[in-house]
Symmetry: C2
């Protein structure tokens, strides 16, 4: 199949940030085979007119819990919500069928918002992998390991075995890449971190973990070990290029230097961090030190949308405010972080993250038709400060069009119906729990 996207304002996000104001992108099967000025092309099967549109690489969501869509709008303002509300409700209600239905829905939400790749930490990963194949989204999926019973593991840390067998089973898929996920530094024992690291090294994949996110996590490490979580990970031999450290809000200069030296990757989830009032991660300093940082939406109970436009805008405001410097992170740099930054954080920058010949055809066409998308003196500024998910017009993943004129290939109404059906008495249990904890 040879598809041409023509007439769009192409922002390649390659190393030189090449742009083509009325350019062409040729897709052959799952790859990009031409990016540049408009020209003649032979034997085209399909032509997509991107007039009055921006054409960008698919955005990369480096951290999500996609099956948590049913939790959206629950307990937003509840202190210590994770332990008092989310864990109990999850253990009471989550199952494979609900995870599948919620994942299909959440993946649809991501595609409609121009996210073509995401990395996820959750349970029932086979169901997520099947959902990713159904929806046509690129997914890095990691079973969660945690030192307590979970919704898919009867025993403490059983996720380690479940996760390894998932990794073994899903090698070499076009869309699905298995990873492993440890819930967090204070929710796993040292030897579990070390075993998990052995597994991801064996399969040359990623270990995702929440790191330096919670106030109580920082206090716990200070009180019990006299060190930061990052220094603790370093002492365990777990600070290396396989680690995708999520949040990293509370870092000191030594942490940042250690992470940079050891090539740790970082997922920064600003919408989630701001909503929880946790603080603003020192991303300027991380990037200055040479750390690869990508953006993450976090789950729909945290973020609350699976949408990186919102994250880009919040990232700009949060960093400029934290460092009291309006000139920090021009919009172009932020679009770069949401695309190539994410690809680098997921160690996939040879395959995705920019519009270049030989890369996977993960492409997003953003319409400039809406009121807020004019004028366009600076297309990056529109993407960061003005665009909504509703401006995403077409989306391609591995060359396949999965959003066409703002619509998914599958009916969103049907996805919602399926999800509602699987939610069963989720709403009732959520309400009971909310009333119980006040």
């Amino acid at each position: 199949m040879r598809k041409l996207i023509t007439n769009g304002w192409i922002l390649t996000m390659d190393d030189n940030n090449h742009e083509y104001q009325h350019g062409d992108i040729l897709i052959e099967d799952n790859k990009i085979t031409y990016v540049g000025e408009k020209k003649e092309h032979d034997k085209l099967d399909e032509i997509i007119d991107a007039d009055n549109c921006l054409v960008i690489p698919g955005m990369v969501n480096t951290h999500c819990h996609v099956p948590m869509v049913p939790f959206r709008t629950l307990g937003d303002d509840c202190p210590d919500r994770l332990r008092r509300f989310l864990f109990p409700l999850e253990n009471a209600c989550m199952n494979g069928k609900l995870a599948f239905a919620a994942s299909c829905y959440g993946m649809g939400e991501m595609l409609l918002a121009g996210i073509t790749t995401f990395a996820d930490m959750y349970y029932f990963m086979d169901d997520l992998a099947n959902a990713a194949q159904k929806m046509g989204i690129r997914a890095l999926l990691g079973e969660t390991v945690i030192n307590q019973k979970s919704c898919d593991a009867a025993n403490d840390c059983e996720g380690l075995a479940i996760g390894e067998s998932f990794i073994a089973r899903w090698q070499n898929h076009e869309l699905v890449r298995p990873i492993l996920a440890l819930h967090g530094t204070n929710t796993n024992r040292p030897e579990i971190f070390q075993k998990a690291m052995e597994i991801v090294k064996k399969y040359d994949t990623l270990l995702m973990s929440h790191v330096a996110e919670m106030d109580y996590e920082m206090t716990y490490f200070a009180d019990n070990f006299g060190k930061t979580p990052v220094a603790w990970l370093n002492d365990l031999g777990c600070l290396n290029e396989h680690l995708l450290a999520v949040h990293c809000i509370h870092l000191n200069d030594e942490d940042i230097a250690l992470m940079a030296k050891n090539k740790v990757k970082v997922s920064h989830c600003i919408a989630s961090n701001l909503k929880a009032g946790k603080g603003i991660a020192p991303v300027k300093d991380m990037i200055k030190a040479g750390i690869d940082v990508g953006l993450g939406t976090d789950g729909a109970s945290s973020g609350n949308t699976l949408d990186l436009f919102i994250s880009m805008r919040m990232f700009a405001g949060a960093q400029k405010t934290k460092y009291h410097d309006r000139s920090l992170f021009p919009a172009k740099d932020i679009v770069k972080i949401a695309t190539m930054g994410g690809a680098k954080a997921l160690k996939m920058d040879k395959e995705i993250g920019s519009l270049e010949v030989g890369k996977k055809a993960d492409i997003v066409v953003v319409s400039l038709d809406a009121a807020h998308m004019f004028p366009c003196h600076d297309p990056y500024s529109l993407l960061v400060y003005s665009a909504n998910s509703s401006d995403v017009k077409h989306v391609f993943v591995s060359g396949k069009q999965v959003v066409n004129n703002h619509m998914l290939n599958v009916s969103l109404t049907q996805l919602r119906k399926d999800l509602q059906e699987q939610m069963g008495d989720f709403n009732i249990k959520a309400k009971e729990l909310a009333e119980k904890i006040g």
Copy 2:
């Protein structure tokens, strides 16, 4: 005309936050005459089905420079942008025809985003008033007074006379309410502030001014007067219920106490403040002290959209982060600030800001159809954390429907064409200036 909005989940935002999950709102001419449970109604001219929608009061944008749409995406990251970039470009390019075309466009953008009332500080106010009447939006319009030549005044502070004659000319209109605007505390002399205050008292209207926004403003007042801008205004006799103070980022406890005691109104423009890295206003403390605070988008060169959904989301994140408290400002309180809070800040809370019998029929119907708008355990949370302007389905101002099924009454394409035509060589001059200042 008797119009019924039926089947919607009505969030009245009245003093008791009454809700009706499948309720009715009856509009007669420009007023609301029934809000409550579904019932039979006689002689209806029109029925609007709001099934699977939220119905909320029109949002109130307490600060804008609506004709600045052409400046959107220009110089976002430019230090000292106001003096180095915006003033020179404005003085070179802005005229009445451009102000009219840009205002029609920007008012359309606001209506499409569910804003039914806005307060503006700019020039060429007759053109803005005509635009508001054309577009059907409620507008509080204040001519800008500034101690330098401006695009509509050849002389320093001539805006005072222009502004007073505008106020006199536009008394008693259904949609347009004339106010007066002083550019800022450090861009006007003391006696000008006092004269302006006399004028607004005479006409019982508002005086809008930027206050405590800039670092250099704070330094200027500390160095020259040994006091804060708020204390300076107090000493001038200008701190009273007629003052709508915009931004108020840099306030100390005495400032807040003075403002509360004197019933000063505040417009908080978080999207603009974050993008400029200026800081986060102490809104929690202002509200605790009893100050009426509303949200403002600021102009499209600052905000960068004329959309209060973005502002609500940023407000939540910024306040929770500033005070390091996730439980601060539950979503319901934020929707209240964007509606009744704005109405109170503009001293219009007897007429607008909530869905109550006798108030103006300024009503917004927000669709729950989009992927990010499900599930709805908490409708306020969806409005604050998930909704985009694209979810706004219907909008009524003074009973007249101005947005119908996501479309304006006038063609957005035509508004854009008209604006492009009036922009003339704006783009070229902007580019030249940008290159000149680097």
